[in-house]
């Protein structure tokens, strides 16, 4: 037990939290940006899977990390746009379209894998991987240095993406439009904003974020593609973004909370605790955090509503 506590409060544990959080931060940002535009995107699971696959295949055939990255991101944009096409143009329910996308991703990647490898074992394809990156100055800081330095470059990209998300969302005209469309599409339309186009852009950007998450899984975390390897991270991202109110810092913290809880379950998994219980901890944490969150949100709203009622009553009183 003491050795477990030692290892939980260790540099390696905190390092692992960042590593586990990375493939959640990316899709959570993807969920957040579509949520800001007024859509719930549960298709990140499929987008991640397709990008994870595309990256591996392109890296093997071109031996270029850059091309693999570009192809992976392009596949993410493409499937983000495809989701937009089904929802915005063909008026399909976006939840159903996303479910279809997830099924398609699962089947398509397996099918193509068999076609390309001739049915050989998936591990026979060795992908290029993104390098790890040690930050010279940061490294020398005690405790913090070893935790923050030496990560896969995609982990740093994930944190940068949070910044990018903030800038796009709150400092650019596109961000303003996305928020306007999400909060009141009719008002946005009345000032000449092409609502569908803005929603499509949001979905395409979410495809970029999702693709980066998928690429990290197959080309950073491990170095191959295997079937359904995203394993639910695209769905956890929905909860993480929701917890963070789709704001940049909130989404980051939401993802990292899941990363923390997941890493915790990994470290306590080797204790003699029933594994079903251990595996349910992240979900229990979700329920608890969402409950606390909504309770906190609910209270002021009630107060505000009561306040408004009082004001109205007062105004009414003056009139008569």
């Amino acid at each position: 037990m003491t050795s477990l506590l030692d290892s939980i409060f260790s540099v390696e544990f905190l390092f692992a939290v960042l590593r586990v959080s990375t493939p959640l931060i990316f899709p959570a940002l993807g969920v957040a940006i579509t949520a800001m535009s007024g859509n719930i995107n549960i298709g990140l699971e499929g987008i991640m899977l397709i990008a994870a696959f595309t990256g591996v295949i392109v890296s093997i055939y071109t031996e270029s990390l850059m091309l693999a990255l570009l192809a992976g991101v392009a596949s993410g944009i493409f499937f983000g746009a495809a989701l937009g096409y089904f929802h915005l143009k063909l008026k399909a329910d976006i939840i159903l379209a996303a479910v279809a996308l997830n099924f398609l991703a699962s089947g398509l990647t397996i099918f193509l894998l068999i076609v390309i490898t001739g049915g050989r074992n998936t591990s026979a394809l060795r992908s290029l991987t993104f390098p790890s990156f040690s930050i010279p100055l940061l490294r020398s800081i005690p405790i913090l240095g070893p935790v923050l330095s030496g990560h896969n470059i995609m982990t740093y990209v994930a944190f940068l993406s949070v910044l990018v998300y903030y800038i796009v969302m709150f400092k650019t005209p596109l961000g303003l439009r996305i928020r306007a469309v999400g909060q009141n599409p009719d008002a946005a339309r009345s000032v000449g904003i092409d609502v569908d186009r803005v929603k499509l852009y949001a979905l395409m950007i979410s495809g970029v974020f999702g693709a980066l998450g998928g690429l990290y899984l197959s080309m950073g975390y491990v170095s191959w593609f295997s079937r359904d390897m995203v394993a639910g991270r695209g769905f956890i991202a929905v909860a993480a973004a929701t917890m963070g109110s789709n704001l940049s810092l909130g989404t980051l913290l939401g993802s990292m909370l899941f990363g923390l809880v997941n890493t915790l379950t990994i470290y306590i998994a080797s204790l003699d605790i029933p594994s079903d219980l251990v595996q349910s901890i992240p979900y229990l944490a979700t329920v608890i955090v969402l409950a606390v969150y909504s309770a906190r949100n609910f209270a002021p709203r009630k107060r505000r509503a009561a306040h408004r009622r009082r004001q109205r009553a007062q105004a009414h009183g003056k009139d008569t």
Binding site: S3, L4, S7, S10, E12, F13, A16, R19, V20, P23, I110, I114, G118, G119, R120, N121, T122, S123, A124, L125, R126, L217, Y221, V222, S223, W224, S226, R227, D228, M229, A231, T263, I266, Y267, A269, S270, P274, S275, D276, Q279
Partner: protein, 351 residues
Amino acid sequence: MKRILMLAVAGLILVSGISFAGGGQEAASDSTRILLYLNGTRGDQSFFDSASRGIEIVSQQFDVETRIVEGGYDSSAWQPDLAQLAGGGWDIIIAGTWQLAEYVQDLAVQYPETTFIVYDTSVDYSAGDFSNVYSILYSQNEGSFIVGALAGMLTASDLDRARSGNTIGFIGGMDIPVINDFRVGFEQGARQVNPNVRILAAYVGNFNDPARGKELALAQIEQGADVIFAAAGESGLGALEAAGEQNVFSIGVDSDQYMLLRDSQPNIAAAVVTSMLKNVDNSVVYAIERYLDGTLAIGQAELLGIREDGVGIARNENFERIVPQAMIDELDRLIEMIDAGEIVVDTAIGQ
């Protein structure tokens, strides 16, 4: 033009259909006709290659007629494939893995004249009259006992990858009886040779999350483990990678994972000291041999362990390179003891 093409295609289909049906009825020869149906393709370097190898050995050793049909990975095609093949008048149809067990159950009732053999799974004998189905199960607990003993010796050794913690790790796919059967065997084997060994065990929760498998293995290594045994499918591959990166030992499962990874992922493969094998090939030969003798226990499930060569360990070049002769001798001694019934390995199945 189009019509001619259509006619040609229709004709082709007709002809091929006839030849297929004809192929099914050429039961003129007296030799036993054996069909192996794979719900996948050859070249997986695992179960299906092993089963095919068994059939090839059978066809060389005995006067039998054999055929292997590769069903591919489209699960919706397996049931109709099998149903069509079952009508072909085969004496024996072999189909493996739990995914086909249910289909075999249906067909066994329809074709009581045909003997069905399923491997690595069992039909549910309480669900009907399956007096023409023989099920092969593998004693993964016995195989795991041997790799557990090896792990117990490796962690106590002063070999390159061994550390001082006297700790080993088990990573399972899910907390289910068949996976726990690996675990209890592994733990018993390790304690047999190293009573004080500390054993960490964790479950991924699925078989398709290599990232989480890797993370679990890294955490175990962090807690002092220097031998990782992963029985977790694709998730387990992540654990093998962790062992390769952290320069400790790993043990593969089901097929020889060193050979599988040697060319594509050499640094992962180098850590895979051995794998706990399910010898599908031997079990197929074992079953056919007894079928021809008339001693095969058709209508039952049989558990093939070390004695029957149903399970074993991979003794490849990496194993020979890493494991000292003294340890190999000890492993052989333990195998003999299990053979002779002097050691009874615990099981997690049926409890």
